[in-house]
Every structure is written in C-alpha cells, then in structure tokens.
Symmetry: C2
Subunit: 455 residues, 2 copies
C-alpha cells in the first residue's frame, strides 16, 4: 500500500501556496549575488534566514563557514535504519542589471502563478519546492532521512564547496543525491540530465599605454589593445561555427555514440522551441541534432563581456589605453579543466604575451551513464508529478557541487530540475511558476516514496 | 623698418597674461563637447560668449547658424587695399570622463604657467593666442584685415562646416588661411605640417538575440555577437602591424617619395620622445622612419571603443545579446573617403551582413606640396617667436575645415600649431602652457608682419 494519498498530497500543496510564496519572496529580496563582493553581507543575512526557515520545517540546521560564502547544512530524520537522501540546492544568484529588467530583480512579483525575480527559478524556487516535499514525505512516514546542503557560491563555480563538504563527509553520507537545478527541454518535455558540461572561466586584460591617446597623433604606430584582444579571441575560436582553435582542445573529448545520438534524436527537442524560448532569430545551425550536440556534448569558447576605450555618445578618436574581456569554455566529459587551462595559457602567451589571464576558475564536467533504479524512480516520479514523460539527455550547464558530491560520496546523483528554458536562467526577467512548484512537490514526494525502498 | 618693436611686443604679452588666463578659464568652463547631444545648450552659450569676447577685441562678430552647432565669424579691419588673413580655430572639445582626470576637466587650473582643462590646448588656448596677436598687429598698423572663423563641430568631423562657409564665401575671401590646431614634434621641435590625414568613422553593431542567455543552456548553438564583432575587426586589420586587410584599401595611397622621406629623417623626430610624450612602453615598431611613415603617411584602422555583455565584477556566464564597436580609419592623400567607405561597407556585408554600420562621417585628407612664401614666412616667424627651427612634416590628425577652406578659397593654408605632444590632445589631463602662448603671440605677430607684404 502506498504511503502517499494523491488527494491528500494535492490538498497539502494547495494549502501551502501562500507560505511558499512568502518564503520565496523573503529569499528573492536578498540580493545573493555571489560574484559581487558588495553582496557578502546580504549573503550572510540570507544564510541566517535560511537556517531559520529550515528550523521552522523541523530541520536541524546550521551554517558551515568556508573561506568564501557559507554553506547552510541541515538534517531531517535520524532513524539510522532508514536510507538518507542528500538534497542539494544553491541560493546564490547571477548578477542582475536593473536597467535590463521590467521589474526590480530583487522584489518578488506574483502574477497569475508566475513568480518574477532574480533567483526565482535558479535556484531559490526549486530549493523551497524540495523542502516542502521532504517535509511532507517525512510527515507521512516515508522511511528516509534527509540532509540538506544549500550553497551560496554555485554561480561563481563553487570555489570553496568541495573543501567544505569534505570536512563533513560523515554527516553527508547518503544513499543518493537529489539536485534540482536543471532545465527541461520545454514545458511539455521534462528532462533528467545524466551529464553536465564543465566550465573554465577567465578574465583577459591588455594594457598598452598609460592613458588614451589621440589616434591622429599616434595612430599607426601605437598598439591598439582592443584590436589585439579581438585578434586573440578570433585566434581562439571561429564564432560562426563555434569551433575552438586552441591546439589540443578537442583531444580528450569523449564523443557521443550511436545510442546517445539516438536518445537525443528521440528526446523531443525542437529547434523552434529552443529559438523561441531564448528569443533567438538566427542561430549557428538549425538542424536539431547539430544543436543538441553543440549545447550538450561539445565544448565551447564563449565571450561573456568585453570593454575598452570610449563607449559614450558619438565617437572619440583615441587609441585606448586598455581592453578587457571575460571568457569561458564549457567542457565535456573527457576534458580536464586543468589541462585545458594550461593549453589556453600557453596559447595566449604564444600569440600575445602581454595579455594577462586572470581570475581563472574551473569545474569538472559530469557524466554518469544513464540507468539504475534511481533514474527509473525519477522518470516515474515526473510522470506522477506532471503526467509527462521525462527524457534522459545531457545538459550544457555546469554545477560544480554535482561533481564534488558524486566524487566524495560515491552515491548516484539525480538531476530532477523543474525550470523551463523560457524561465531565463541567468537572463533578465527570470521567473518561476506555480505549476512547476505543484508538479515539483508531487514529483519529489513520489520520488522519495520510491527510493526509500532502494537498498 | 619693421613695424613691430620686439621689446614693446614682449611688454604687451606680459601685460595681457592675466586677461588671457581669465578668458581661457571662461572658455574651458563651458563643456563644449560636440559629440554629446546633452552639450548643445553649452555650445550655444559658448558661441554667445565668443561673440562677446571678439567684440571686446574690436572684432565685428556674429553667430552663423548651421543645421548642427553654430560657427562664430568675425571681421577685424576693413581697408580693402590690405590683404586679408583668415584665422581658423575650433572651440568644441573632445569628451572628458571625470574619473580619468586628476582635476575637473571643465575648470581651468593654473599652476606655474601650466593651464589644465579640456580644450586648453585643443583648441581654445591657441584660438585666444591668435586673437591677442591679431589685435596687437592691427593696433601697430600692420596693413592686414582679419577674418575669424571659430567652429564648434571640429571634433565630430565638421559635418556642417563646408555648407556654412560656402554661404559666406565672399566674406571669407582671403589671401591665406592661418590654422593653429596642430602639434609640434617635441618642445624643442616646432613643426609646420603640410599634410593631414583624412578620417572615416563608423559605429558597428551586432544584435543576435533579444536578451542575454545562459551560456550553459544555449552556448555552442547561440551566436555570440562579441565573438563575431571581434572576428570582423580582425578581418579588417592586423593589430600587430596595423596593416589594413580590406581589399582595395591601399590602392590609391600616394606613397612618399625619396625627398619626403629625407625630410622626415631630418625632422628631429625621436622614438624616445614620441614614446615618452604619449606614455607608451612598447609600440608596433621602434625605428623612427617606420613610426613617422605610420603616423603621417600611412592610413590606419583603429578601434576606439568596444562594449558588449557583462563587464561588472566577477563573471556572468551569458551569451550576450549584442555588441558594439566604434572604429575609424585615418586616410592619406590619394585616398577617397567615399570610396573607402563603400569598400568597407561591402566588406562588412560580405563577411557578416548582420553587423550594422552606422553614423559614418568622413573627412578628406589634406596635402599641399611644401614651398611658397607663406610657409617661409611661417618658418621665420617660429624662429622669431621661439628661437627654434621649425620643420616641415606631415601630421597624422585630421582637420576637416582645412580641406573645406582650402577648396573654397583657393588660398594657401598655414598650419601654425602651438601644442606639444605631452599636452594630451584628446587625452585625460589635457593642458596648455604660457610659454607656448608667449612664443605663439610673438610668432603670429611676426607672421602677420611678414605676410602683409605678400601680394
């Protein structure tokens, strides 16, 4: 006999809607931008709030200090006979430029079941969804223990996470790891990724003078740092195809096999959905198989930002003093970020030794051949939760903690995301939706009910 | 018998120092940034002030309206038997970013004969220097008439100047044209340029999406506008050598002959002075002949500014929505800006038709084979003024009005600049110096005394 009654569950979900929205609002309004040093105080405040929230749910919670932003950990359930599920989410967010948003990014707006605000879908909303589900499952006697790990450095590549969780390895010991921080193919296509790309980020800077100089007086002889930076970037990759030109870059890439390509082709991925969700008119290629390959199983070189010289009104005919760019490479299974970084540094040194490479950070890619009871339970749970069939694919994003936890605990990871492409991960006007919360709680509760039987 | 007594002249110069500084202060404190639409009102105010100043000097002055910023014109002397000298200067300035300056750019600072402020040397200071000299010469009975043309659109390529002066061609009829808006080779090397480069400016913009997108979710398939703009710029030129790669770009360049190269090599130009004056540690090449060729007689491609994506603290892993760059090409005698512009547009269209080319403006290059009585009088006058031998070279900057006035009036142009490389044309912390004012007034007075004899 199942422990969970579907009608009761739905009743519970209806009953907590107001509480969910209030909690989400209280989290969204703290600007937990981990990339911005000015937000350190806000993040400390959010960590304290998070501990209070967890305690209200009956979770024994505390702050784990790191050399960077803290991690909040919690425990619910202490029966040693029961298996333990480790629930990971992150509560830090991407930067948000007010001028690009239709609303204050750090004030939750609620409109017809739509929750607008930075972090609503990535990853504050899903974190709370998992918490409400765990509490319900415990209350209904599902024989599980829970460990919560809520990170505040995910968006900057989790530089201190691995060291911090290593110190509490025994506390985190778990049968499996549940992570809700991934994105479906579309609103009708739930996805459970079994692979994530790694990430290598760096800042490039070139200074060729001590001030801007009149381009008539010195132009021709003076070096132009923007021109040189553009040239280096163009040496690194072909922006039309995305092909990276750094020697050795593709050497260790594990290519997808026929089975995986088949899986991708049956995933329901549609070029038109992809373009619509992200607002693209024209992309590098329109063939679905090529897009999936490019975003899931191929590495990238990307320029996230560039700045140099005069960018105000009109024109200022100067040879600028300096130029800067922020770049990253998404890496795929087989690639080693440390090796790629040293190839990249050598490449920059060879072609333009005056360009400095700074503030590098990296994350390993993640891959676990799809299969096993946990993944099956997850697919079943999504069907129960949403009445939609989930597909097993890869995802192109990177979650450092997934690799660290998987490595540390030798436990399977299930990536049960609730976000949709149009929710705008990292984009302006990010939002989350009640229908994903409702389906999400149903999914998680069902998942817990299933996996408690796995021994 | 010379009309001018040197001691009396020096006495006069000493006596007007306070007045000169006061007038320069009143001009510098009006932010006449022609590139910034927000400064239109300031420019109107400056034009009114300029008319008042000219009238105080006995000049009949008025504002000539254009479809852009006004031109101020004036007449001093009405004896039709005397030849007329047309004195051109400009009173608009380059933009100035307060954060890059050690002082308020729009407040004149005076320290040990050094005048700090935007426009002090380019070109408000030289304009006033010429005015004081003309007044003195008139007062001493030098048989000349003067016409003044003070422009407010020089720094944006004089888009309305030619049309405006064409309408008052008869009023401007002159024996010769005096322009003080060029730069010496060094403090000990006065230069009288006989050639200027032309200029072609444009803004480039590429928009590939309607918002920034998570680079994990779409990276690989999404176009990156920064990468594509960098690639186009790299296709346009080699930033290491400065060589422009747009087909046909060099076709019409008139190369320097042996005589001109000889002249350059004897000019006293020194690589070390050049690097020091502009604060360069390393430039494209160190050989003096190559530098002079590059800055005076070779065209350039230059990137003045670039912007795109996230440029705040840390990193934001987005595929940016759009990227922009401001570029220019300095053109040399033989090159036709209209032809180069159409080559450039075709090149952009061929390689990346989605990149828009906007806000183009151009100026023709200027060249007049060195020789003639006016140039000789100028060299003699500089020697009288500064006790230094002036060299005849070219200059790499562009002054649209020179080409327009030369074409319209068929009169020789003498480029008698007073600025030094370290004064910082277009750069932060621009300044001018009393010693250049003093020597400048001496030079101009002597020049007027000489050229009144040319019939």
């Amino acid at each position: 006999m199942p422990l969970i009654n579907e009608n009761r569950l739905d009743e519970y979900i209806r009953s907590i809607r107001g509480a969910y929205e209030k909690l989400l609002g209280s989290l969204v309004e703290i600007p937990t931008v981990s990339a911005d040093p000015a937000c350190s105080q806000a993040i400390r405040k959010a960590a304290l709030l998070t501990v209070r929230i967890l305690k209200r749910f009956g979770v024994q919670a505390e702050i784990l200090k790191t050399s960077g932003h803290p991690v909040v950990i919690g425990a619910l359930g202490t029966n040693k006979k029961n298996p333990t599920i480790l629930v990971y989410n992150h509560l830090d967010v991407q930067p948000a430029d007010r001028s690009e948003w239709d609303q204050d990014p750090f004030r939750l707006t609620i409109k017809a079941g739509r929750y607008g605000g930075r972090g609503a879908t990535d990853d504050k909303g899903p974190a709370l969804t998992a918490l409400f589900a765990a509490k319900y499952a415990m209350g209904k006697g599902v024989p599980l223990n829970f460990r919560f790990v809520w990170e505040f450095e995910e968006e900057i590549g989790s530089p201190n996470f691995e060291k911090a969780v290593r110190s509490i390895k025994a506390f985190l010991h778990a049968q499996s790891i549940l992570v809700s921080d991934t994105v479906w193919l579309s609103g009708n296509n739930p996805a459970i990724p079994y692979g994530l790309r790694g990430l290598l980020t760096a800042g490039l800077e070139l200074e060729t003078g001590d001030r801007d100089i009149h381009s008539g007086l010195a132009g021709g002889a003076a070096r132009n740092p923007i021109g040189e930076l553009c040239e280096l970037i163009t040496r690194c990759y072909d922006p039309h195809t995305g092909r990276v030109k750094i020697p050795g870059f593709y050497d260790d890439v594990l290519s997808t096999g026929r089975e995986e390509r088949q899986r991708f082709s049956e995933s329901g991925f549609r070029t038109s959905d992809f373009k619509k969700a992200h607002g693209f008119k024209k992309i590098r290629f329109d063939e679905a198989a090529k897009i999936m390959d490019a975003i899931w199983s191929k590495p990238t070189f990307e320029v996230h930002g560039i700045a140099g010289g005069y960018t105000g009104k009109g024109i200022k005919t100067v040879v600028p003093q300096k130029a800067e760019a922020k770049i990253s490479m998404r890496l795929v299974p087989g690639q080693n970020p440390r090796k790629i970084l040293s190839q990249f540094r050598a490449f920059v040194k060879l072609h333009n030794p005056d360009i400095s490479v700074r503030g590098e950070a990296y994350l390993d890619p993640y891959f676990a051949a799809p299969g096993g009871e946990h993944l099956q339970a997850a697919v079943d749970a999504v069907y129960f939760g949403f009445r939609k069939r989930a597909v097993l694919v890869r995802e192109g994003g990177s979650i450092g903690a997934v690799v660290s936890l998987n490595k540390l605990l030798h436990a399977p990871v299930v990536l049960l995301g609730l976000s949709l492409p149009e929710h705008g991960y990292h984009a302006p006007n990010e939002y989350f939706e009640w229908r994903q919360v409702r389906g999400g709680i149903r999914t998680f509760v069902r998942y817990f009910e299933q996996v408690c039987r796995i021994r």
